[in-house]
């Protein structure tokens, strides 16, 4: 029994010594090196076949930022929506008008009886725009194409109708000129437009920017009057349809049809360019960083920006500036640091 215990103790001592030594350092190193060479070779061969790896290595610069198309499209789509979502277009001061001439065939040929002019001041009308879900796609080398649906919601508001008649020639002898004004109620009809444009990506060294390019920012707003207002217009025209005013020359039905045509064609509203704002993507470079509590300045030079497949690659060359000032004199780590 005792011999056994002593033998066990000696065994533990011996095994501790053996375990400590193990294979000698040179053997261990040789094994590790062989394993390293094999793994390195595997990595190199496999990495060479990955297009993203090749793309990354082909991009020059000390810092390369790659952004996947899915993220860019999501960000660009959200930005584009914000350009036109919940936008109210104040139509006060907008006036739509039409004029024309009424002629009569006579044995002397066509004679002008006069000119008419109709104008609608959209004073209290508002266009209420809502942006839909945009279609977004990357286009090499640096564009994000956007097709943005814009829904115009139905709104109503006060408007003013002005109709005037200016007799000419012989008609002047029997017809008086007239001008009538009526307060009416108009409405902007619900409709959908699609604005097509793009965001152009650029790398200025510090920032990655997306600048909107929407060459056609026109939205044709179709209008209408309320039924009551159409009745008012018709009644107004009819009131002029008496002898001496020559309203009879301008048939009330015809006048209403003219106005309806005018409203259906709508008015062209050009959205201000300023609404489409340049945004800076959230990945940025910095001209100064802290290294162990010291400020180090870095000169930035923009390198390439390109869309390659489903990835945006942007890179910057950095030149670290010499740092002036004394070297850090670190103190002995405190207890907290030691605990960590």
């Amino acid at each position: 029994m005792n011999r056994g215990r002593i033998a066990l103790a000696l065994g533990v001592l011996a095994s501790a010594g053996c375990a400590a030594k193990g294979p000698d350092s040179a053997t261990r190193m040789a094994r590790l090196k062989a394993s390293y060479d094999h793994l390195h070779d595997r990595l190199e061969k496999a990495a060479a076949t990955e297009p993203l790896v090749s793309s990354a290595f082909a991009t020059r610069g000390q810092v390369v930022v790659a952004i996947r198309s899915g993220l860019i499209e999501e960000l660009a789509g959200n930005v584009a929506r914000r350009y036109l979502d919940h936008v109210k277009v104040d139509l006060s001061g907008f006036e739509t008008e039409k004029d024309g001439e009424i002629e009569q065939k006579t044995f002397l040929g066509k004679l002008s009886l006069g000119e008419w002019r109709v104008a609608v001041d959209l004073g209290g009308l508002v266009g209420d725009l809502r942006a839909g879900s945009p279609r977004v796609g990357l286009r090499a080398p640096d564009l994000i194409d956007i097709e943005l649906p814009v829904d115009v919601r139905q709104t109503e508001g006060a408007a003013t109708l002005r109709f005037s008649w200016d007799s000419s020639g012989l008609a002047k002898l029997v017809c008086k000129d007239f001008e009538l004004t009526r307060d009416i109620h108009g409405r902007v009809l619900p409709q959908r437009h699609v604005l097509a444009g793009a965001l152009r990506l650029a790398n200025d060294g510090e920032n990655l920017t997306a600048t909107p390019e929407f060459p056609d920012r026109h939205v044709q707003l179709k209008l209408d009057l309320t039924d009551a207002s159409w009745a008012t217009v018709e009644e107004a025209l009819r009131s002029q349809n008496t002898s001496g005013k020559c309203g009879m020359l301008m048939k009330p039905d015809k006048g209403v049809a003219l106005l309806k045509d005018l409203a259906a064609r709508g008015i062209s509203v050009s959205l201000p360019k300023k609404m489409f704002r340049t945004v800076t993507l959230p990945a940025r470079m910095h001209e100064s960083v802290k290294v162990n509590k010291r400020r180090v300045r870095v000169a930035l030079t923009a390198q390439k920006l390109r869309i390659d497949g489903a990835t945006l690659w942007s890179s910057v060359a950095l030149h670290v500036q010499p740092t002036a000032g004394p070297a850090i004199v670190a103190r002995e780590p405190d207890r907290e640091a030691r605990k960590r």
Partner: protein, 252 residues
Amino acid sequence: MRIFRTVAAVLLVGLALVLGLRRLRLSPSSSRLRVSAQEALLARQNQELVKLASAAERGTLLDFKGVLIVVDQVLVQDLLRAVMPLDGDVGGGFRVQIDAVDAAFGDGVALVRLSGRANVGTASVGSPITVFAAVDVVSLDPVSGILQCGVSIISVEAQDAAALGRNDPVGRLTEALTHGGLSMLVGSLEIPVSVENKLSIPAVESKRLRIESEDLPLTIAVQQVKVFGGRLWVFVDVALAPRPTPRAEVKS
């Protein structure tokens, strides 16, 4: 007598265990068992290479959905060189001065080799040393979004270990550097690139148009870091956080 024998045997076993465990402990204080810097580095590289090679063979080496930041080893080297020399008491009675640095980001380990001199206290005698460290803690500053790196010890080599004292001085120096000494010397290293936690759409203020600025909040997080080909590859997850939209008015 039998009791004495039993006690002696137990003491012998206890002594054997204590001695054995001390030697088995792969701590820096055990000079015979401390592996060489080269061996420690190779072991760590192999560990990482297994993962990298497998990912590359699966075609998922650069499998990212958000943002990938690629940092060249030369930049990290230059940033560290810009603040050289570094000098300080690193603990354990050692004073270390680092005056040269090399970075090699290959095969799984973002190796930073710091060269300088270690002395014991204020003694004039000391030894040239090389500290093998790795950039292995990468995060984004929660406020600025700037990429931050931490450096940790792999191993330390001293040209003249005897000049640093007795009882495994290199082990003690390694321990001192591991437990706060290196972070005192090198501290946190910022890389001059950030991923911000918002996308800002600027305001418009004109005679006929007034639109307030708007921030689209983003959630950002470093998902993983890989090291190969002389570069540090930082995978950052970026996603839009939902938010209500404001109103704008256009006066035509």
